[in-house]
């Protein structure tokens, strides 16, 4: 019975190796084994988006992946967004626009926005709303988050 597997992966540019239970979800691995608690758990059934990270450059729900599936993968979590003390433009825009209140949805939203902006240039407000519709926020009513993302897309020119 294969109950554990050794995995090697990169997270935010740093290499890790770990022996993990095969049934452990990727988000539990990140939070529990790697102490990267920035990625949050909101529902564990793929609806709320709080657990969103980038896996090999694509935003995915880490509650719906097993840690063993990340063997050989390159992940990016919210902890990898800033460049040392320099906040990422998205992080600065979120603060400027009061796009977070309790902050629980924020990491997942930042990672979603990161891919969205990478792949969509000059989005309209409607496109931004569509782009973040897979992330639930209970506090802000979304408007300031949409504005923050539009700000960054306009900054990029």
């Amino acid at each position: 019975m294969t109950t554990e597997r050794n995995i090697r992966l990169t997270v935010n540019g740093k290499a890790y190796e770990s022996l993990v239970p095969v049934r452990m979800t990727l988000v539990d691995f990140l939070r529990g084994e790697l102490d990267l608690t920035g990625t949050h758990v909101g529902c564990e059934h793929g609806v709320c988006g709080a657990c969103t990270i980038l896996v090999d450059g694509s935003a995915m729900r880490s509650c719906l992946m097993l840690a063993v599936q990340a063997d050989g993968a390159s992940l990016m979590t919210v902890e990898g967004l800033a460049d040392g003390p320099e906040l990422h433009p998205l992080q600065r825009a979120f603060q400027r626009n009061h796009a977070l209140q309790c902050g629980f949805c924020t990491p997942g939203l930042l990672m979603t926005a990161y891919e969205f902006l990478r792949d969509t240039s000059n989005p309209t407000e409607e496109q931004v709303r569509e782009g973040i519709s897979g992330n639930i926020c209970r506090c802000t009513g979304y408007a300031p988050i949409v504005q923050a993302i539009l700000d960054v897309s306009q900054e990029a020119g």
Partner: protein
């Protein structure tokens, strides 16, 4: 909400996967994109003894044109790749149009076309579109392969023709020749949710606008997506006029016996399925609906 214990395999070849399936059959679940299976496992609604992860098998993800100008799509092709494929847009625009309705882009980044088909949620978009496109399904087991037509693939609620020892490896979408129009409509409570009810349609029109062949599929209105025979027969030979479309809608509603759940009553699904069909037909006749292979033999 943590999954129950299971034994885990991640075969690197098709043969290895088929051998495992042959060995474990009913005790095993295939893990593809995981967007349907993982929630059920996290909720312990599903407790497979064995999980066979097919994400590391080469050759299962591809979008390939076929000699006869149809399309072959590997079962492990991510929905997001389909969404962005120029080839799919050119060959089977109905599929290109439907994919963005599936969940959200993060789900489509990981979800696969094969996973959606094998899971066969009655309100899912890909099964309905494949039924309309008269797609063929290639199923493999350790003994060989077989091809199943879409009309024979979807059997019942969450049940397909796939045997426990079989793996869906690819689908083949046949070419459609002539002036084909298509439409896709669904109503859901929130963008990205499973449809309350929806319709996909393809119309083959002659150069006078008379319908040579109509394909109408409803989804979310029964245990599987369904081709609506009476409406299809009715439209055949018609000019698909306003009255024709209304009659087709009426025939669709009459033929349906949907379930009630907390999101919609049976009556709602029955009535609105007709509306969806009518609107999909209207959409198909709009000038901007992309005709397939325009200019080719329309006979």
């Amino acid at each position: 909400m943590k999954p129950a214990r299971f034994d885990y395999y991640s075969p690197s070849s098709r043969d290895e996967a088929l051998e495992l399936l042959g060995q474990y059959g009913d005790d095993a679940k295939i893990l593809a994109g995981g967007q349907s299976l993982m929630p059920m496992m996290n909720m312990r609604l599903v407790r497979p003894k064995v999980v066979i992860d097919i994400n590391r098998i080469a050759g299962l993800s591809h979008i390939s044109p076929r000699r006869d100008a149809g399309l072959a799509i590997g079962a492990m092709t991510r929905q997001r790749e389909l969404e962005r494929s120029a080839l799919v847009l050119e060959t089977a625009p109905l599929l290109s149009w439907a994919i963005p309705y599936i969940g959200h882009f993060q789900i489509r980044n990981r979800g696969t076309v094969g996973g959606s088909l094998a899971h066969s949620d009655p309100a899912a978009e890909i099964p309905a579109v494949c039924l309309t496109l008269e797609t063929e399904f290639e199923l493999a087991n350790s003994g060989g392969e077989r091809t199943v037509k879409a009309e024979d693939f979807f059997l019942n609620h969450l049940t397909t023709a796939l045997e426990p020892v079989e793996l869906l490896t690819q689908i083949r979408i046949p070419q459609t020749v002539g002036n084909w129009r298509w439409g896709f409509q669904e109503v859901c409570r929130r963008d990205g949710d499973f449809a309350l009810v929806g319709a996909a349609t393809m119309l083959h029109l002659d150069d006078k606008g008379i319908c040579l062949e109509a394909r109408i599929t409803t989804f979310g209105a029964g245990g599987t997506p369904m081709r609506m025979d009476a409406a299809e027969v009715y439209l055949s030979g018609s000019s698909v006029s306003t009255d024709d479309r209304s009659e087709a809608a009426r025939l669709v509603s009459d033929a349906l016996d949907p379930i009630s759940d907390i999101h919609a009553s049976a009556k709602y699904r029955r009535d609105v399925a007709g509306v969806m069909v009518r609107r999909a037909l209207e959409q198909a006749l709009l000038p901007q609906a992309l005709p397939l292979n325009e200019g080719e033999d329309a006979a």
